[in-house]
Amino acid sequence: MTKNKQTHQANQVNQAIQQIRNVENHLVKRNLDKIILDVERLKTRGIYLGDDIPSPLLSEMRIIKQSIISNAFLTEPPLENGNFIVITSSLANEGKTYLSMNLAISLAMELGYTTLLMDTDVLKPQLSELIGVQERKGLIDLLSGQISDISKVILKSNIANLAILPCGTPNDLATELLSSERMKMLVKKLISWIPKLIIIADSAPLLLTSESRIMSRHAGQILLVVEAEKTPQSAVMEALDLLKKRREIVGLILNKHQHRLGYGYGYGYGYGYGYGYSYGYGKKK
């Protein structure tokens, strides 16, 4: 085939997928405020919205995504709150926001699922700042009771099937709010808001705050981000210690790893996890 024909065919496929998406876009129906994500700005931060995602990142996201989906919907018996996934780390700046955004965008591409990206790092709402919604009402307002209607706060984006819940108005009692029963109820509310919803919550570092630890109790899956060549092993072990003896699934994501001399080859993709690989919790469906 000629190049023109190839592109034409690819475009056709994309269009078809888009149509399906639109059909299954529950968000379209809802009366939500919309925000436009600044593609270029996000790209400078390593967050890719479109097809220009680098293929390594694409593959890596895919692998993580599969695992998440599998645990959320495909386990028997079903994981409680399995579609509420908290992305956290031991220390700051390990790449939680970066990963949660890219992951959420990647999940939004999944057919049949709606993704809600939530910023629960009330002390440092980096995600909200990144998107540009830090001024808006958000999670904290919902928790404080100021706003009760979630559709007033949740935003839809220019990416189909991706909704965003900003952090909200800064509040002194934010940490208490997060660890309160209200959070639990809010989570329940959110889960039942849209069918096949996947909630990705970008949270604060485990060792630096206590509220992320408590909040993560509400989650069904916890993904601990570890920055390669930086995070001390002791910190990771300490964080894992905090997450022990829980009913949630804990998994690790090694972020910012580099291929180094002396470690052989064939290291990076496809170790045999993903595609419904579930760990420590029941069997696959």
Binding site: G95, V236, L240, G251, L254
Partner: protein, 502 residues
């Protein structure tokens, strides 16, 4: 896919680990450098004053080393020289003259100080030339240049006075010692001589002047003499007998023959006698010779005589002759008999000595041996004394130099130590090493996860995904900026080092 075993760490991982903590390392290195360089900067300068001298070590050390093996001597020459020249008394004088001694600090301090000073003043053999060259260098370090100079100068002055004025150390002592020895042995020699003389005198009969023991010879001789004597005696006795016979015969004859010419008769009788003697002896026998002579005389008389009167026969000449001869013979006999007695006495005496001979012989041998020994030693001592005298003459004469200053000391302008540039380099090297070590230790104390495998192994938690580092332009800029900054800081350290040293 497979992955290599990563349970054993490798060099690259270690290097990366150290690099990871490079900033900690460089901070530590800088701190250490600052402290080190400050310390080096504040080190006290030490100045060295040096002088080169010529020391004839052989003549200075000569008398002391006599008898010491030459190889030992050569190996330790410098040490011995240093010990001799920098003896306690000398050091004390040097210290006092150069005002090094601090008073009022006690005896112990003084002793320690002086012994330390002796070690600090270095006497080294200059080996640039041949090994047997007598060129030495005397050097001393001190933080005050003038003080260093003073010490060396004082040392030189002290050495000079000691070596030149005394003509060598202990030399006089050696000589006087030798003199005493010579005198002592002279006495002994004289005594031994005397003893020998006495002994010779005592046994002069069996010991000649030359000292030969001639006992046996003397005995033999005495025996021989006796034998000869006996022989002679028997001869003479026989002669005596004969004479007696003749005499009696003659007296008978005198009665009947008194008118004839006495001379003729005499001649006739002499001839008869001669005939008889000839039967017994040869012509050489003295009696025969004298008889012939008397016959000749008589004949001569006869010829010269005109006509002889008749000689009264009261004193018959023949008879007279015989009588005188008889007397002579008798005298001879008694003489011989006496001699025999004497010879017998001698023989008896010598035989008496026989038992004592071994003793006498050994005693004489001992005396002579003792004497010889003393003589030898005496000769040796004389020789030694002579050579010592000669040596002293040579050394005290102005032709032989025993000590000379080749290069006098100067007040040093520049410090010899510490070698600051080199020390500064050491400082930075040590600081670097410590810095790297520090980084290494840190990496061991604070390990991280480099890859999937270590994470999995260490935590035991399943790994959901591994996201690689996105190296966009911004990252590269940051990365290289940081690297450049680090290199800049390192260069900065180097620059400071170079600045310090030059």
């Amino acid at each position: 896919m497979s992955y290599k075993s990563q349970s054993s760490t490798n060099i690259f991982a270690h290097v990366r680990a150290v690099w990871r903590y490079r900033w900690s390392a460089i901070v530590l290195t800088s701190l250490l450098c600052v402290f080190g360089w400050l310390f080096v900067h504040n080190m006290k300068n030490s100045y060295q004053a040096e002088a080169q001298v010529y020391i004839d070590s052989k003549s200075v050390l000569g008398p002391i080393l006599k008898g010491v093996g030459s190889d030992i001597r050569q190996a330790n020459e410098v040490k011995m020289l240093a010990l001799t020249l920098l003896s306690r008394t000398n050091i004390e004088i040097i210290a006092e003259k150069s005002n090094l001694l601090k008073k009022d600090k006690g005896e112990l301090y003084k002793e320690l100080f002086l012994s330390r000073l002796a070690n600090q003043i270095k006497l080294v053999q200059d080996t640039k030339g041949s090994k047997s060259a007598n060129i030495f260098s005397i050097s001393y370090f001190h933080e005050n240049p003038k003080q260093a100079y003073t010490v060396v100068r004082t040392t030189l002055a002290q050495l000079e006075s000691k070596i030149l004025n005394h003509g060598g150390i202990h030399k006089g002592a050696a000589q006087s010692f030798l003199m005493r020895q010579v005198n002592e042995y002279e006495q002994r020699l004289k005594y031994a001589e005397k003893k020998i003389k006495e002994f010779k005198f005592k046994h002069s009969d069996i010991i000649t002047d030359k000292g030969n023991v001639i006992y046996h010879n003397k005995l033999e001789q005495a025996r021989n003499d006796l034998e000869e004597n006996a022989l002679a005696l028997s001869e003479v006795k026989k002669h005596h007998e004969l004479l007696l016979k003749q005499l009696s015969a003659e007296s008978k004859l005198i009665g009947s023959h008194n008118n004839k010419n006495p001379l003729l008769t005499r001649i006739r009788i002499q001839n008869e006698k001669l005939d008889e003697l000839k039967l017994l002896f040869t012509n050489e026998h003295p009696d025969i010779i004298s008889l012939r002579q008397s016959i000749a005389d008589l004949e001569h008389q006869l010829k010269s005589q005109p006509n002889n009167k008749a000689i009264k026969s009261s004193n018959n000449p023949i008879y007279q002759d015989l009588k005188t001869t008889l007397n002579k013979v008798e005298a001879k006999i008694s003489g011989l008999a006496l001699r025999a007695v004497e010879y017998r006495k001698k023989i008896k005496h010598f035989l008496g000595l026989l038992s004592l001979m071994p003793e006498i012989e050994t005693e004489f041998l001992n005396l002579t041996r003792g004497y010889n020994v003393v003589k030898d030693r005496y000769d040796q001592l004389l020789q030694g004394l002579e050579s010592a005298r000669v040596a002293e003459e040579i050394s005290t004469s102005s032709n032989t130099i025993k000590f000379d200053i080749i290069t006098p000391p100067l007040i040093p302008l520049l410090p010899s130590s510490p070698n600051r540039p080199r020390l500064n380099v050491f400082v930075i090297l040590i600081a670097l090493t410590l810095g790297i070590a520090f980084a290494f230790v840190l990496s061991y104390m604070r390990p991280i996860f480099e890859n999937y495998y270590s994470l999995k192994q260490h935590t035991g938690i399943p790994i959901v995904g591994s996201v690689s580092l996105q190296k966009d332009n911004a990252w590269y800029i940051r990365h290289y900026l940081e690297l450049a900054f680090f290199l800049l800081c390192s260069m900065g350290l180097m620059t400071v080092l170079i600045y310090l040293n030059y």
